[in-house]
């Protein structure tokens, strides 16, 4: 009874307050409906880019939005084949160190500048120039020596060493070709004024609110796998920043936006059943969410302890419980969406508590303390895993706690601690941790080299966080990045993936997937090979 009066009162108070607020501010019309948006797609994303210059910013969101603004020299189709785009053809020298590209005629940048060899050279030189302070792209082309303008339609790129993945690198939005005029004019301001030749023109950025992309009416050079090679069907894309997942999902389900990125896995079922909406899903290529293990300090310097940890966690059950099928558990250091993924790794290191116990006994961790943890010479078996809250998307903090609980059952104490950014980066950079975890989106098995080659430690721009130095692995990964024989590459990468699991250098957990909520009135949105949405073929049906 009493609660009921309360509730009525709450409602009344709320209505009264709202009415007052309306009087005070003059309530306008309600929400914009699709029809009133002038044929523009409204796309809600979870993160705002730090910078829109694809050669500076390391973030996925910059590459994803940049894909509409910039074209690349070559395109990669869904089957991972390199196809012509701004370059109509190319030759690779016998030693694999010179790439000559023949360029398309008649392409114009958004500022009217004609696309030619100068633009390619300007973009690559901009990437490696120290004053650009590139945080990702420059590292991808560390072997770049120079580019020569042979003539207006021909450019030659020279490398310090052969690098087979170069074409894949050049196909990404990270290497979208920028207008040389704009690069010169906006020096030091390229983050705020991206000028490319793509199907969408950057029209404005209202910080913390939205980015506007308008249709490029002159577009006539779409990539070969696009259904539509001409101008986009929609008048533009309005990218709204809605960081809070519940707000983003609600905005989609109430028709205030047409698409929403990063649908929480817990909402995927609801979206699949909802009338008038669908889920678009694409597994991301590259490295899965991976626990890198510190093989250079106790206790994980002992491979038996690493394997014990590997076999003590029910990854299947954890991933299923947390992500309800939206993401798949991983068996390999590459995701299934990556070229040369080794299917043979699947099921190769199943949950096996007896084996884990046997391994720990063999390693001398035979004692038990009051809390049930294993000890050796009176010392508890403790593993430190620091993390930074701002990086824990996809409920990774919860996942970490799950892994912690599993490890505890095996007698391993996992200290999973949140740190503020400064402290985290200090620990991570100084290798003052036993586990660090991250994922990496890249449509190229060469990502394995970034993770496990001894020359790819953090201070060299790689993500070999704990300095794995395995001559066998180095040899395979370096040969694979230089050979042009696809069969040989596949064999080498298969060996490398098996080796990482056998030595338990790292524990792959799950393959992230792009989860896009889409209203049925939107048609023709596709994913590129990096699982970024493309709007160039999209239509709005009202």
């Amino acid at each position: 009874m009493r609660t009921r009066t309360h509730r009525t009162l709450v409602r009344r108070a709320l209505v009264a307050a709202l009415a007052l607020a309306c009087v005070a501010t003059g309530c306008g019309a309600g929400t914009g409906r699709a029809g009133g948006r002038d044929g523009r797609i409204v796309y809600a994303v979870d993160t705002q880019p730090d910078c829109l210059d694809p050669q500076i910013s390391p973030y996925d969101v910059t590459a994803a939005l940049g894909r509409g603004v910039f074209d690349s020299l070559v395109a990669m189709d869904a089957r991972g084949r390199v196809r012509p785009w701004l370059a109509t053809s190319w030759q690779i020298s016998g030693d694999g160190r010179a790439y000559t590209f023949h360029l398309r005629d008649g392409v114009r940048f958004h500022d009217g500048t004609a696309f030619d060899a100068t633009a390619v050279k300007a973009t690559l030189d901009h990437t490696v120039a120290p004053e650009t302070k590139s945080q990702y792209a420059a590292g991808l082309i560390s072997m770049y020596e120079n580019a020569t303008v042979v003539d207006a339609r021909t450019v030659r790129i020279r490398l310090s060493r052969p690098y087979t993945p170069l074409l894949q690198v050049l196909s990404t939005a990270t290497f979208g070709i920028q207008s040389p005029t704009a690069l010169r004019a906006n020096r030091g301001r390229t983050c705020l004024k991206p000028v490319g030749s793509g199907p969408f023109v950057f029209a404005g950025w209202t910080r913390n609110r939205r980015i506007d992309l308008d249709r490029n009416p002159d577009y006539a050079w779409g990539p070969p796998d696009a259904a539509n090679r001409g101008p986009a069907h929609v008048a533009g894309v309005t990218v709204e920043f809605i960081p809070e997942a519940a707000s983003r999902f609600g905005a989609l389900s109430s028709g205030q936006v047409d698409l929403a990125s990063a649908v929480p896995p817990s909402h995927v079922g609801r979206l699949r059943q909802a009338h008038g909406f669908r889920l678009m899903r694409a597994t991301q290529p590259g490295a899965p969410y991976t626990l890198m293990l510190n093989i250079n300090r106790a206790p994980l310097d002992d491979p038996r302890v690493r394997r014990a940890l590997q076999r003590s966690v029910r990854f299947d059950a954890l991933v299923k419980a947390l992500y309800s099928g939206a993401y798949e558990r991983s068996w390999s250091a590459l995701t299934p969406a990556t070229g040369d993924y080794a299917r043979a790794t699947e099921g190769g290191w199943p949950y096996d508590p007896e084996e884990a116990a046997r391994l720990l006994d063999a390693a001398g961790w035979t004692g038990r303390d009051d809390a049930g943890y294993r000890t050796r010479k009176g010392v508890r078996l403790t593993v430190h895993w620091p993390y930074m809250n701002s990086l824990m998307r996809d409920q990774r903090a919860l996942l970490g706690q799950g892994i912690q609980a599993e490890a505890k059952r095996a007698g391993i104490e996992l200290r999973f601690t949140a740190l503020e950014p400064g402290a985290y980066l200090q620990k991570a950079g100084g290798r003052d941790a036993d586990i660090l975890a991250f994922s990496w989106n890249r449509a190229e098995p060469d990502i394995l080299r970034t993770f496990f080659d001894s020359a790819q430690t953090g201070d060299k721009g790689g993500v070999n966080a704990f300095g794995v130095a395995d001559p066998q692995l180095d040899g395979w990964l370096r040969e694979a990045s230089a050979t042009r024989d696809p069969a040989r590459r596949a064999a080498l990468y298969a060996k490398a993936q098996t080796r990482v699991n056998d030595q338990a250098y790292a524990l792959p957990v799950y393959a992230p997937a792009t989860l896009l909520g889409v209203a049925d009135r939107v048609r023709g949105v596709t994913f590129d090979v990096q699982a970024y949405p493309r709007f160039h073929d999209a239509r709005l049906e009202d």
Binding site: T31, R207, R209, E420, G462
Partner: protein, 310 residues
């Protein structure tokens, strides 16, 4: 003390507060653990060359005294420099986000005052309603803004579609965020007001007014409310802090532009120029509001000497 001298002294004090706040930011920034350059670069693996380059470009490789001197020069000349991360002058970054936050704060404050006055006038010396109102106030105060905001969104935006879920300039877009932010203030305001009202209603002048046959509500509004306003003015300083703190959460839930989001990002990325700018703006606002409150006091009640004010 003559009013003009008093005023000059207060202004000087306010300037000192602002100056102190700026210094606190400068030194706190250097005492935090970790390398600020690594934080500025975010979660990437920068090469040592890149770290060195950024350190040099941000002038963080100079002796502390030189850095401090430059920082002071910037303060005095009003040049806050350029953001470490956004390729934009700090003035531009803050200028573009100040108005939405001010709009939100003012709307929330007015709404909170309106609701509190109504509640206090209706419930003072009426035990039954008072009990219900008190529990409501308690609920409003103890519900996290984050939750209030999502509930409002779920009901009034997603379901009824009366208000937009995001955006931030139209009048309609400010309603739900303002209600969310005001909910946290109403409780405190109402309790203070009601207590003062109840004290005032026991004064002889109210009895006289009743004897003359005024209506109860009219008496409450005309006579008693004036007395209740003084402690409310005192609370406004606290309210400004509460509003700014709440703005960070509210702006995130409602995807609004504003200083809250800028501050959160700048603190995480150790963007010293932006953080300094935000602190300066808040310190100036705080000092000015306190000054205005004191001036109001002296106008409302000339007997008040500023020494008796905390």
């Amino acid at each position: 003390m003559p009013p003009l001298r008093w005023f000059a002294r207060r202004l000087l004090l306010a300037a000192l507060v602002v100056f102190g706040a700026a210094n606190a930011v400068f030194f706190a920034f250097r005492l935090l653990p970790g390398d600020p350059v690594r934080s500025v670069l975010g979660n990437t693996n920068p090469t040592p060359e890149l770290v060195a380059r950024v350190r040099h470009d941000l002038a963080l490789d100079e002796p502390l005294a030189v850095q401090y001197g430059r920082f002071m020069r910037g303060l005095i000349t009003g040049d806050l420099g350029e953001s470490f991360q956004l390729q934009q002058p700090v003035g531009e970054v803050i200028g573009g986000q100040l108005w939405p936050t001010v709009q939100l704060a003012v709307a929330a404050l007015l709404l909170a005052l309106l609701v509190s006055v109504t509640l206090a006038v209706l419930t003072a010396h009426r035990p039954k309603v008072r009990r219900i109102a008190s529990s409501l106030e308690l609920v409003a105060v103890s519900t996290p803004a984050f939750w209030t905001g999502l509930l409002l969104l779920a009901l009034l935006s997603f379901r009824l579609r009366w208000f937009p879920a995001m955006g931030g300039s139209g009048a309609a877009a400010v309603v739900l965020p303002a209600v969310t932010l005001a909910a946290g203030l109403v409780g405190a305001f109402t309790q203070v007001l009601r207590e003062e009202l109840e004290r005032a209603l026991e004064q002889p002048f109210v009895l006289t007014a009743r004897a003359r046959g005024g209506g109860e509500t009219a008496i409450r509004l005309r006579h008693a409310l004036r007395h209740g306003l003084i402690p409310l003015i005192t609370l406004s300083g606290w309210a400004v802090g509460a509003l700014f703190g709440g703005a960070v959460v509210v702006e995130t839930v409602f995807s609004r532009q504003g200083l809250g989001q800028v501050t959160a990002a700048a603190v995480a990325g150790r963007d010293l120029p932006v953080v300094t700018g935000v602190v300066l703006v808040s310190a100036v606002a705080f000092a000015l509001i306190n000054l205005a409150v004191d001036v109001l006091y002296r106008l409302v009640d000339p007997r008040i000497d500023e020494r008796s004010i905390g």
